[in-house]
Symmetry: C2
């Protein structure tokens, strides 16, 4: 009767509106403080503190103390993956009670999904990388090819400089808006960081929208 992992614990954590807002805000990949998250969630700091404690205890977020601030990030890419999948369901199954405001088309076009590029631009880039043989779907997961390695180093991206965390180099993540894969993983994060540092793209503050500049559009 109790054979599968206990879904309801995690799901009920995400199920509270305030906590869902917190997690959605953290999908940007930026580390946010408790007060910032309180503002995002629309509740006071006290209740936010309680929520953050529960999310931490549930393993969904990871705290980091820095001076008198406490920064929070999502605990892993798996969490981000689950959240995107849930957004897909929520967007599909009616109940999209956010009327398509002015920023919505921009969100579908290009947005940040836990520090990598998502939306229409994200899936286009993913397709292009596959078509040019720079990344490859091997047995189990996505892998970087040799020519891909050359390509990215030629672009001025130092692949070995990435922190050697346990997260894979390449990973696919599916969009709730496009319902197709885009590139995640260390390479996905590195690419977006590169776009920003070269001025090809910039994040719009207080949202997940990414806007590409004119020179940035020629990269495809």
């Amino acid at each position: 009767m109790k054979d599968s992992p206990d879904i309801s614990r995690v799901a009920s954590l995400i199920g509270d509106p305030a906590r869902a807002n917190i997690l959605t805000a953290l999908m940007s990949g930026k580390a946010l403080t408790a007060t910032e998250l309180a503002h995002e969630a629309g509740v006071t700091l006290q209740t936010t503190s309680a929520h953050l404690a529960k999310l931490d205890e549930g393993g969904l977020i990871r705290p980091r103390k820095e001076g008198r601030h406490k920064y929070f990030t999502l605990a892993s890419e798996d969490v981000a993956h689950v959240l995107e999948a849930l957004m897909g369901l929520a967007a599909g199954s009616g109940h999209l009670r956010h009327r398509p405001g002015p920023r919505d088309p921009e969100l579908r076009h290009a947005r940040v999904c836990y520090n990598h590029l998502a939306g229409d631009m994200g899936t286009q880039m993913y397709d292009s990388l596959i078509a040019r043989g720079l990344i490859l779907h091997s047995d189990k997961a996505l892998n970087l090819t040799l020519s891909g390695r050359d390509f990215f180093t030629g672009l001025g991206i130092d692949l070995d400089a990435f922190p050697a965390s346990r997260s894979p180099m390449c990973r696919d993540c599916l969009d709730w808006s496009e319902r197709r894969s885009h590139l995640a993983g260390r390479l996905g994060r590195g690419l977006l960081a590169h776009f920003e540092s070269t001025g090809w793209a910039q994040r719009i503050p207080e949202s997940r929208v990414i806007r590409f500049t004119a020179p940035g559009k020629k990269s495809l």
Copy 2:
């Protein structure tokens, strides 16, 4: 402030223990009646009826009236995908309060995940199919190759006989136990059905365990 789809609605639906049990039971892919689900969930029929109404209203399950019975199934593969992803989080993030009972290793070895094969056997089969060039990762998704088409028809599986639903022919779905991809989609369902009809495998009643017979093990 309200730019992404509303996650909390869906998540809170899954967040209730009784409903989570119901959804987990439906992961077997079999259509179950309200009373069966009530038994699964451990609550009375009245409350189950309320839960089922909410799950239906939320678009997670789909009812089907058959005589005086009412059968329920998951609404789509996307729902199953989200549930598996949640199981992955729940299994990873501590709190696996189901002590590894006798059936647990069997579950990790081979189980049914919304009518297709999952677990160790599932990912092995997936890898083997890819390695032999029978299915291919193209731009966006998984595709059946021509040689794959021949192979399966040679095996006695009539691909065109599958109901031409909107769900894709091939699809990858990731395991909570193996943390790797296995084959889903119409082909995945068809293969498992084929295994059962030829006597290579059989489902263990009242669980998601699949047990392979001796002749079935030679198929790899």
